[in-house]
């Protein structure tokens, strides 16, 4: 299952990456060789084997609904590339 430039363009779109033509060519061949390498997993029988997503049991952490100190608005916005009226500002999304 060879990876094509079209596959790379599709993944780049999903990942929100604007790749140059050069990058598309490089990643097509590099991803292809990495994916060929990982095909060795096919030789492992995994019928009935549960997948491991986490090695420790992850429980949902809940706490009492008490008001606690949190970041104030100025601190939360301090790193924003653009802000306006106490909000993060982006370009218009509804034409």
């Amino acid at each position: 299952m060879a990876i094509t430039k079209k596959d790379v363009e599709h993944a780049a779109m999903l990942a929100r990456l604007e790749l140059s033509e050069d990058e598309k060519v490089t990643y097509t061949s590099q991803l292809d060789s990495i994916l060929k390498y990982v095909e060795n997993l096919r030789s492992v029988s995994t019928d009935g084997i549960e997948p491991t997503a986490h090695v420790v049991p992850v429980k949902i952490s809940l706490r009492e609904d008490n008001v606690k100190e949190s970041l104030v608005q100025d601190e939360a916005l301090a790193n924003a590339p653009e802000k306006a009226n106490g909000c993060f500002k982006v370009s218009r999304i509804i034409e």
């Binding site: 390498y37 997993l41 492992v44 491991t52 986490h54 590339p81 370009s91």
Partner: protein, 486 residues
């Protein structure tokens, strides 16, 4: 020996006896950084004013002899992956070039509360993706033992700063070997604790089911001292484990009589450097002489670990790095046509080649039609790798292997082919997939005077046996007293 070459426990003695103040010590380390960091480039950011202010507070604590720990007044460095309140935190990426966190990571807070002095933030591979620190968006860090060579990675700046005497100790993170492999390359001690032993809160995420923070130090005692402070449950990290933290320094008895050491045959194969093999087998002999017994074991799924890792880690990374969208923090590309265009341009400009490659691989393998063949399959084989260790630990107490198949390689040697670089993590990756603790300690030098690392792996939450074994070897072998000449 120069003060900057001393360990935490040696410096603590001098601080407590008032032979030196923390302020004086901090000045000594700052001067050392000024003297050698132009050559080594271990630091992305140096924070002298903050450090000296912390040192004055530490001195007050030391004078009153109240509320002091073994770390009070000790100058350390930290990998630039940990959020530090008010201090630029870049993760060695252009996309976070101007990011100033409004809070401290849990580990940073613990170290500060203990009285440690933070000298600055260490260089690393961008977003911890790499094994040589060559993937930093800013500059390459050099190995103090041979400045033509890499310090390993991704915590290469941390390892180099310890080896060069630019701090007393440091902290790094380890997703597939990023503490242990650079520790091995730089001739220092590096521990990756059990997954969940140390809080990940405020540690910039790469692969959340594998990432773990740990100490990087000049000897095993220092490693135990640091872990005592770093470990523990944190309600802010839902994967942190809620079990009591023992005093790890108590485990350093020097006695390993009756300890069963497993040697996995899959780790002594083609591609293993002769010098490394000789040093590791020599270390096994030393452990045997101290009363440990050797058990031949098998970890049959070792060959699949790299493939599993590069599917699991990239899948998690593609999701974790979605947050860098140019909206809430970090850089934003100029002159974009609309929101979508802004996202795509920002991410293309902000991420380096290796980060993009991994985001692409993760996105592809999670995308419609490929999920079962790649991510799910890898997660199932991960279960088998974990079971390999569970089986092995029925007949042995620790597993001993080389940390890395080769000593530090030359700068530029492995940058052309990503797969070759990935293979340098072949002995460290399984430990993260299984979630178990692992340490790298110095076990000798090559003919070219490059450090070699010994890896000791243990059962989940059994850092004590890992440290006990490491300490017994270290005290018998004495490699930890050698320092790089600069």
């Amino acid at each position: 020996m120069e003060l900057y070459n001393l360990t935490i426990h040696q410096l603590n003695e001098k601080l407590v006896k008032r032979e030196i103040t923390s302020s004086e010590l901090t000045e000594i380390f700052l001067k050392r950084i000024e003297g050698v960091d132009g050559k080594i480039k271990a630091y992305l950011t140096i924070t002298p004013e903050d450090a000296l202010m912390q040192a004055r507070d530490a001195d007050k604590r030391l004078v009153s002899a109240r509320d002091i720990t073994l770390l009070t007044g000790i100058p350390i460095s930290v990998k630039d992956i940990f959020c530090t309140k008010g201090i630029r935190t870049t993760c060695a990426s252009k996309i976070l070039n101007n990011f100033i966190p409004p809070y401290d990571a849990a580990v940073i807070k613990k170290l500060k509360d203990a009285g440690a002095i933070i000298l600055g933030k260490n260089n690393m591979d961008e977003f911890a993706m790499g094994s040589s620190t060559e993937n930093s968006a800013f500059f390459v860090t050099r190995n103090p033992w041979d400045t033509e060579r890499v310090p390993g990675g991704s915590s290469g700046g941390s390892a180099a700063s310890v080896a060069a005497g630019e701090c007393a100790a440091s902290i790094g993170t380890d997703t597939g070997g990023s503490i242990r492999q650079p520790a091995s390359c730089c001739g220092i001690v590096g521990l990756k604790p059990t997954y969940g032993r140390v809080s990940r809160y405020g540690m910039i995420a790469f692969a959340s089911s594998l990432d773990q923070a740990g100490p990087m130090t000049k000897d095993v005692m220092d490693c135990a001292i640091m872990l005592n402070i770093m470990a523990g449950y944190d309600p802010m990290d839902s994967t942190s484990i809620d079990t009591p933290v023992p005093d790890y320094t108590k485990a350093l008895t020097g006695n390993i009589k009756g300890l069963r050491i497993g040697i996995p045959k899959e780790y002594f194969v083609e591609g293993l450097d002769d010098n490394v093999e000789k040093a590791v087998m020599g270390a096994v002999e030393v452990l045997k002489k101290q009363g440990a017994s050797i058990v031949d074991i098998s970890l049959p799924h070792t060959d699949y670990a790299i493939a599993v890792y590069y599917l699991v880690a990239t899948a998690e990374a593609s999701s974790n790095l979605a947050r860098y969208d140019g909206v809430k923090y970090g850089c934003r590309a100029k002159d974009s046509k609309n929101l979508m265009d802004m996202y795509c341009k920002t991410r293309d400009e902000g991420f380096g080649a290796e980060v993009k490659r991994r985001i692409m691989l993760g996105t592809y393998s999670l995308s419609a039609g490929y999920y079962d063949a790649y991510y799910k399959k890898a997660s199932q084989v991960r279960t088998l790798i974990k079971r390999d260790f569970e089986e092995a630990f029925k007949i042995c107490d620790v597993i001993v292997t080389p940390t890395s198949p080769t000593p530090a390689f030359k700068i530029g040697e492995k940058t052309a082919d990503p797969l070759t670089m990935y293979l340098s993590d072949i002995f460290t990756i399984s430990c993260n997939l299984a979630g178990i603790p692992g340490i790298s300690i110095p076990c000798g030098f090559t003919n070219d005077n490059l450090p070699i690392g010994l890896q000791i792996l243990g059962r989940p939450l059994d850092e004590e046996t890992v440290l006990r074994t490491a300490y017994a070897y270290e005290q018998a072998a004495d490699w930890h007293k050698k320092r790089a000449r600069l």
